[in-house]
């Protein structure tokens, strides 16, 4: 990443800055009786790539779900561009430019590739524009355009999922386990695409178990353990402690 972006990320926040694109303050959340987040503080500044790392069960998925309005919060505050948006619905959040590519396959398995892309127009882009951008970036999707998304390989499905982010020009992109169950080559292709989006000025929060695939493109990394942010630092700082965090030394 360019040093400009890194400076912006780690430098002190002056009183007159552009407000963070996305901000979670003391967020708590639960699935039924199971409280998963115990007060999460997280900030994504414009143009920044924040990696949310940590072993499974730490609360990464829940954090991004809350950030996208998919899961109601039990406490704390969620802000988009400085505005408090607690209780926002996922569809409204999507309309405001918050794009979450969820964990697993973020595609409608029983819809064709074209139909999947068509639904991405829900946030305003035209159908032609979306198809054009998606096929340009992932030519394989054009060959598969009339195939059911569920019948494609995991990598192709993830390309399709990521196409929504490519085509709809969101303000902030939330990625959950982009690399889950994918071959390393596909994963690096995915992250190339993400890097390209970052070039275009999109802010990214990426929850990722495979720390080392994402650290190279991150400006800032946070480690989540037991529903809390356990550490925040530059990728280099976090990288040094990874083994301990994951495998328990």
């Amino acid at each position: 990443m360019t040093s400009v972006v890194t400076d912006r990320a780690t430098g002190p926040v002056e009183p007159e800055p552009i407000p963070p694109v996305l901000e979670l303050v003391g967020v708590r959340a639960a699935y039924g009786p199971i409280q998963v987040l115990h007060g999460v503080d997280l900030t994504v500044h414009p143009g920044q790539v924040v990696a949310l790392l940590g072993p499974n069960g730490g609360g990464k998925t829940t954090t991004v779900k809350v950030a996208a309005g998919l899961l109601p919060m039990a406490g704390g505050e969620l802000r988009y561009a400085g505005q408090k948006v607690n209780g926002i619905s996922a569809e409204t959040a999507a309309g405001m430019g918050v794009c979450l590519i969820p964990e697993g396959r973020g595609v409608f398995a029983n819809l064709t590739v074209r139909e999947n892309l068509w639904l991405a127009t829900g946030t305003g882009a035209s159908r032609e524009q979306i198809e054009e951008r998606a096929y340009f970036r992932f030519p394989i999707l054009q060959d598969r355009r009339n195939q059911l998304a569920g019948s494609m390989s995991g990598g192709e499905q993830q390309m399709l999922a990521l196409s929504r982010a490519l085509a709809t020009d969101p303000a902030v992109l939330l990625l959950d386990e982009l690399s889950m169950g994918l071959a390393p080559m596909i994963v690096s292709q995915m992250y190339d695409t993400v890097a390209q989006l970052v070039e275009e000025g999109i802010s990214v929060l990426v929850a990722e178990q495979f720390a080392r695939t994402v650290l190279p493109i991150a400006d800032l990394a946070a480690v989540m353990l037991h529903g809390r942010i356990a550490a925040v630092g530059t990728p280099a700082e976090i990288d040094a402690d990874l083994s301990t965090t994951y495998l328990g030394g």
């Binding site: 694109v21 143009g47 400085g82 409608f108 819809l111 068509w118 639904l119 000025g201």
Partner: protein
């Protein structure tokens, strides 16, 4: 050959109508997760409205057609979704079923209010019954052609909708993954609403088309139960696939026509079999459907229950018997009839407590199982004639066992599947009983049984049980016997819930996956509880028949069963008291209220219309209570009990209640007020006492948080005045800014952020 073609045409037309109705049902079910039992009722209302517009008011047929199918249909769909179905996400299957059943009952009441059911109405085919042309020697009427064309157009139209329109694609997407759809910026509720609109207009279309095809006379119940034929067709596609539903519908249409056409002429029963064919096919389809996969996907629902202890139940049982004893002493002897009927219905309603309350499974037609018990008891246990006739214990026992066995047989095919399938199977069984069993009113030569009649002359006179020294012919004695039986059964059911068996039922209801993982065979457990339930329903129905004196097929109507089930759920199906509520509403409420309004209507010329309307309003109000289950899925009785819990700390309030009750009792005793006023008075006291408690002694009744809310509500400060007491915190400042419509802080809009950045980078 001509004959074959004619049969084929008629079959295809029937199948086409089924297909239109069934595809609407499948559409709403898959996109909203609510199975609409009122689908047939919507068709019925539309058919009546169409009759009113075209025949009653003489509007041109095309205008009436468009108004009903394209205006009324979608409007009811949207209205239903907005007011009810939309709130049915986090409730148990039982609640979903009961809400749509309540809509069904409400629509039936509404239609009977507006269109007096004793008047005959008929709907002619569009373009008249005789406009036709000939093709290959078959006379095809334009209406029939329209049915075929409409179904074909629908098949193509739905295909286009689902693949070529964004709305249609979102409908498929919401089935796949509603959350992902939200992330794409769509509201799944909107999608569900669209599908309810389409589904309802398909119901309307089917309603308008079906009546002339099926004979021409307009009848509310028959049309309402069209939903059974419809879901039989939908079962071919596992309630999901619309193409397979079409195939199922055409199969049913053709099969029933060929069956009727090619059966030997001396099979006079074949007409009934034809009517019952969809239900028979439904059971066959259930047998071949693959088993549902167990998955650990526990969902929290809003229903809450409290398990009473056996001691607590026994205490109430004694009190209940004592109250009933007092009633036999003070009530007008002529009024004992409704009381016994109400108790008998309460016993039938008890059958739902273990099945639905404890195990979470649904039987929509307890009265149909009861009908089997009544018939068997009549044929095996009644001896003597006229006033000397008695029912032997043997008959009571065999009848009860028969209901249990039939129950097991009916439930078995559906038990491997989700709860909804069991509900559908029971409703289909209700249809079977109506068309095949209750219609057997003339003698027939049976294979083993010989020359006999199942339901002789459409009336079964059920004498009282021969109970040795106890003279059950005496109304008061019979009433007390029923009261004791109800109390004993009630305590037994509470004891059952507190036993290992009851815990296993609760475990299965809460998490089938975990129960199976601990070694519980789910099918066996469900089967046992269903048989128990059917047995109780059978016993209750025999007693009901004997309380009423004689029963006709009309006593076992599916709609009556549905009302009983609904009212029991409204009362609280996990509690014995809920069964009491349901039983009394059905056994006493209906007859008393209709009787009272009927008398008033007859007695006063001036207000006849008013009183007539009031009884209809009441019928609809009852349906509305069922719809209210959505708001309060744990039941009314549970609610009342909960509201009394805090009163333990406010004894004076309770004393006032008891005093008021005694005063009313005294006034009734000296005949200052009638039984009716007494009942209404008691009801008011029961309902108002907790309210009195909250007003009179809030500090003893309300909880800490409620008290705090109480106080803060008393002292609401408008936001613009808040700063007078002290500085605003950021949250208040934000609220105030929003309230005053000021820009909270000078912030760039979110959407502009990236482009701004791009600019700075360049």
């Amino acid at each position: 050959m001509d004959l074959f073609l004619t049969y084929t045409l008629v079959g295809l037309v029937m199948g086409a109508v089924y297909a239109i109705a069934a595809s609407g049902l499948v559409l709403t079910y898959t996109t909203s997760g609510v199975f609409n039992f009122a689908h047939g009722a919507q068709a019925m209302l539309s058919a009546f409205l169409y009759w009113q517009l075209s025949v009653g008011w003489g509007l041109p047929v095309p205008v009436a057609f468009v108004l009903v199918v394209l205006v009324f249909g979608p409007l009811t769909g949207v209205l239903l979704h907005k007011t009810l179905m939309h709130g049915l996400r986090d409730v148990a299957e039982v609640t979903k079923v009961v809400v749509t059943v309540a809509v069904l009952l409400g629509m039936v009441s509404l239609s009977q209010w507006i269109w007096n059911p004793t008047e005959a109405r008929s709907v002619a085919m569009l373009w008249g019954n005789s406009t036709s042309f000939e093709l290959l020697g078959v006379r095809i009427r334009y209406h029939e052609l329209l049915c075929l064309v409409a179904a074909a157009a629908l098949a193509i139209g739905l295909r286009l909708l689902f693949t070529r329109s964004r709305v249609g694609v979102t409908m498929r997407a919401v089935v796949d993954d509603p959350d992902l759809l939200r992330l794409n910026g769509y509201n799944p509720d909107r999608v569900a609403m669209a599908s309810w609109a389409v589904g309802a207009s398909l119901a309307a279309l089917a309603g308008v088309l079906v009546t002339p095809v099926a004979g021409g006379s307009l009848e509310a119940n028959t049309l309402t139960l069209l939903v059974i034929d419809t879901f039989a067709a939908a079962m071919f596609g596992r309630l999901r696939s619309i193409p397979r539903t079409f195939v199922g519908a055409l199969f049913l249409g053709l099969a029933s026509t060929y069956l009727l056409g090619y059966a030997p002429t001396d099979w006079d029963w074949i007409g009934n079999v034809k009517t019952a064919l969809p239900m028979i096919v439904l059971f066959l389809v259930l047998l071949v459907l693959p088993q549902d996969r167990l998955r650990g996907a526990q969902q929290r629902t809003r229903e809450r229950t409290r398990v009473p202890s056996v001691r607590f139940a026994a205490g109430w049982a004694v009190a209940f018997v004592a109250i009933m004893f007092v009633i036999t002493k003070i009530a007008n002897p002529l009024m004992l009839g409704p009381w016994t009927a109400a108790l008998a219905f309460s016993i039938i309603a008890l059958s739902l407590v273990p099945l639905t309350g404890y195990a979470g499974e649904i039987n929509l037609v307890p009265l149909s199982f009861g009908a089997i018990a009544v018939i068997v008891a009549y044929h095996t246990g009644v001896s003597g004639t006229g006033l000397d006739a008695t029912l032997a214990w043997k008959g009571l026992l065999i009848g009860t066992v028969a209901a249990a066995l039939v129950g097991g047989l009916v439930a078995l095919p559906a038990l491997r599947l989700r709860g909804l399938y069991l509900a559908l199977a029971t409703m289909a069984f209700g249809g079977l009983v109506s068309t095949l069993v209750l219609s057997e009113v003339t003698p027939r030569d049976w294979p083993i049984w010989g020359e006999n009649t199942i339901f002789p002359a459409a009336v079964i006179a059920m004498p009282h049980l021969d109970a040795g020294p106890l003279d059950l012919d005496d109304e008061a004695t019979f009433l007390m016997a029923l009261a004791v039986l109800f109390a004993v059964l009630g305590v037994a059911l509470v004891a059952l819930r507190n036993s290992g068996y009851g815990r296993r039922l609760a475990a299965m209801k809460d998490s089938p996956a975990a129960a199976a993982m601990l070694g519980q065979s789910l099918v066996r457990l469900k089967l046992s509880v269903f048989m128990l339930s059917a047995a109780i329903a059978g016993l209750g129905c025999i007693l009901m028949a004997s309380a009423v004196g004689s029963v006709a097929p009309d006593n076992f109507l599916i709609v009556a069963s549905l009302a009983l089930v609904m009212l029991t759920v409204v009362g609280g199906v996990s509690y014995v008291s809920g069964a009491l509520f349901g039983g009394f509403m059905v056994g006493m409420g209906f007859s008393l209220i209709n009787g009272t309004f009927g008398n008033l209507e007859a007695g006063s010329d001036m207000y006849a219309g008013l009183f007539g309307s009031l009884s209809h309003v009441f019928a609809i109000a009852i349906a509305l209570t069922g719809i209210g289950v959505n708001r309060n899925p744990s039941g009314i009785v549970n609610d009342i009990c909960e509201s009394y819990r805090p009163l333990r700390n406010a004894r004076p309030v309770l004393y006032v209640g008891v005093a008021a009750g005694l005063v009313l009792l005294g006034l009734n005793w000296v005949e200052v007020i009638g039984d009716w006023s007494f009942a209404i008075g008691i009801f008011c006291v029961v309902v108002l006492l907790p309210v009195l408690g909250r007003i009179w002694m809030p500090e003893r009744v309300l909880t800490e948080s409620e008290l705090a809310e109480h106080r803060s509500r008393a002292a609401v400060v408008p936001p613009e005045l808040r700063a007078l007491d002290g500085p605003l915190d950021p949250e208040e400042r934000y609220d105030l800014d929003t309230y005053l419509g000021l820009p909270a802080r000078a912030l760039p809009a979110l959407d502009e952020t990236p482009s701004d950045l791009e600019a700075t980078r360049v």
